[in-house]
């Protein structure tokens, strides 16, 4: 005998439960479809008509057929500068918060600092870069200014991902290191960091992808123009990046094929960001799978 009798109440609850389960799945399907449709729209509009020349040619002001050579180069160059500045400091700060910070008021204040900094809107970093480089040092809108401002924007995120990665390292392997008589910094360098490395690399890739597509900071600090040369390593020339170029083409350009250039730029931008995310994470993911077996 079944001890449980279906009352009208419980039947209704079960009907609702089934309905809600269906609803949640429907919602999930819709959101996933929306995301894939978005990616498909961006990439399919730009990539099929993309020719290699487009990636290295100069942008044109008046004639159709311009490329994105210098702006693409500037994007990578500014990204590189910002990472070179922000990675050592960001990772150092993350390690401090995870390994050294004692549990006291000072640490709580530091934590509030990091969280506040990560909530600062990117446009405010743009204004800061503008005030420091254009007004205080008087060097105008430059690649250097863009790179440094972008580095400041990256810092709190890098610190956070490093802290999480280092905290996730199990304590017993640290203690094994100490038991061998290793100093704290030696344990961090030889034991903790190698174990935390995959997570840190993943975090750095996320940050790099964000920085590559960042535009509000770059518009204010590196400007809306390029020096007009392809391989311009000069830190003090104006440094329009690809993301900014997309904005410029869409809002101010007068060339007749502006729409096509914008479509292609958007596709290249998303493609590169996805590549940055996958290129470094894919080997790690493979390694994890092999370890799991």
């Amino acid at each position: 005998m079944n001890g449980f009798t279906r009352t009208r109440h419980s039947a209704r609850a079960q009907r609702r439960n089934r309905l809600a389960t269906f609803g949640f799945y429907a919602l999930g399907t819709l959101v996933l479809l929306l995301i894939f449709w978005l990616l498909f729209t961006i990439l399919s509009k730009g990539l099929p008509s993309l020719r290699p020349e487009f990636l290295i040619k100069q942008p044109e002001e008046i004639d159709p057929g311009g490329g994105i050579g210098p702006v693409l180069f500037n994007s990578f160059y500014i990204l590189l500068i910002s990472l070179v500045i922000s990675i050592p400091i960001g990772i150092g700060a993350g390690i401090y918060m995870a390994e050294y910070a004692p549990d006291n008021k000072f640490t709580a204040a530091l934590r509030i600092c990091v969280e506040s900094l990560s909530s600062v809107p990117s446009i405010v970093f743009g204004l800061l870069g503008l005030a420091i480089f254009a007004e205080y040092f008087g060097i105008g809108l430059t690649i250097l200014g863009g790179g440094v401002s972008l580095a400041l924007l990256n810092l709190p995120m890098l610190a956070r991902v490093t802290e999480e990665a280092v905290r996730a390292v199990p304590g017993d392997i640290r203690e094994a290191g100490y038991a061998l008589g290793m100093t704290k910094s030696y344990v961090i360098r030889k034991v903790v960091l190698p174990v935390a490395l995959p997570a840190i690399v993943t975090g750095v890739c996320l940050v790099a992808g964000r920085a590559f597509g960042e535009s509000a900071v770059i518009i204010l600090t590196a400007g809306l123009s390029t020096s007009g040369e392809m391989w311009d390593f000069n830190l003090f020339s104006p440094g329009e990046t690809l993301a900014v170029h997309l904005w410029y083409v869409q809002s101010e350009a007068i060339v007749e094929d502006a729409r096509q250039i914008a479509d292609k730029s958007a596709a290249v931008l998303v493609f590169v960001v996805l590549m940055i995310n996958f290129m470094f994470r894919f080997p790690l993911w493979l390694g994890n799978r092999r370890k799991g077996r």
Binding site: F4, Y25, G28, S119, P121, F125, S185, W247, L274
Partner: protein, 316 residues
Amino acid sequence: MGAEVESLASRAPKKHTEGKIKINAKRHSRHLLSNSLSRYYFLFSILALCFVLGLVIVFIGKTALLLFADVSPADFFLSFNWTPEEDFFGAGAFIINTLSLTALTLVIAVPISVGMAVLCAEIAPKWLTSFIRPVLDLLVGIPSIVYGYLGLTVLLPFLRRVSGEGLGDGLLAAALVLALMVLPTICRISDDAIVAVPRKYRDAAYALGSTRLQVIMRVVLPAAKRGIISAVILGMTRAIGETMAVVMVIGNTPQLAKSLFSPSSVLTSNIVMQISNVEFDSNWNYALHMMAFLLLLISFALILIIRFMGRKRRDA
């Protein structure tokens, strides 16, 4: 095993000559030095972060406060008249637009994100969850300017067709774009909060004969409430500070948004549209910096609210 250790032990003294011990002492002091040096380096890094925060506050705040030498705070905060060419700096419309845009974004984004989080954490089988989470990460990776561009080229024509409005840009378009952008933020953090709810709560509720929906609505979501609220607030900070996606779809007209489709402007979009055209030593520039400072203060306040909630949870 034991024999091996013994043979190692018997071999060890032969290797340790006097000279070797001296070198080890040198090496030891070198290690101690690098140990204390790296400690200072890590401390220096975190202090550098605080220094950057100080720079932000000082540089933006210093310029912003110059505004109040000429313009009264009441005019700035309460007036809706923004005609900088004639020295009217009323930012009230931008402030209200920013708040209403954020509210509208959350109204759209929160139900969807929390629903997705529940799906990931409670309902979906493991393979589906481990598929959805990386896909949401993809959404985080797309640059904000691309969201804006899509909004401009795909969403606006769609809204024009559906609503019959002439332009389609305005609060609704901006809120839809922003909702998509904050969705992964809110979803992932709520997801973590729901996963962190102890399993025994669920088991107890199931043992009482609850259906899964009842467990979710009456046990899991209330238990994860604080985490979900933090997620929503973090989503808010993103929505308030977002610039480029908003600037492309909101219409950029300095007026109060009276309907969902009236072109308007928010704090961030107004700053980025006007900052490159103004003199540094002008009230116009000071007013724009004041708006940025306001953004800063709002974000800090939101972060403090999250901290406050976190402390309460630990006390309880």
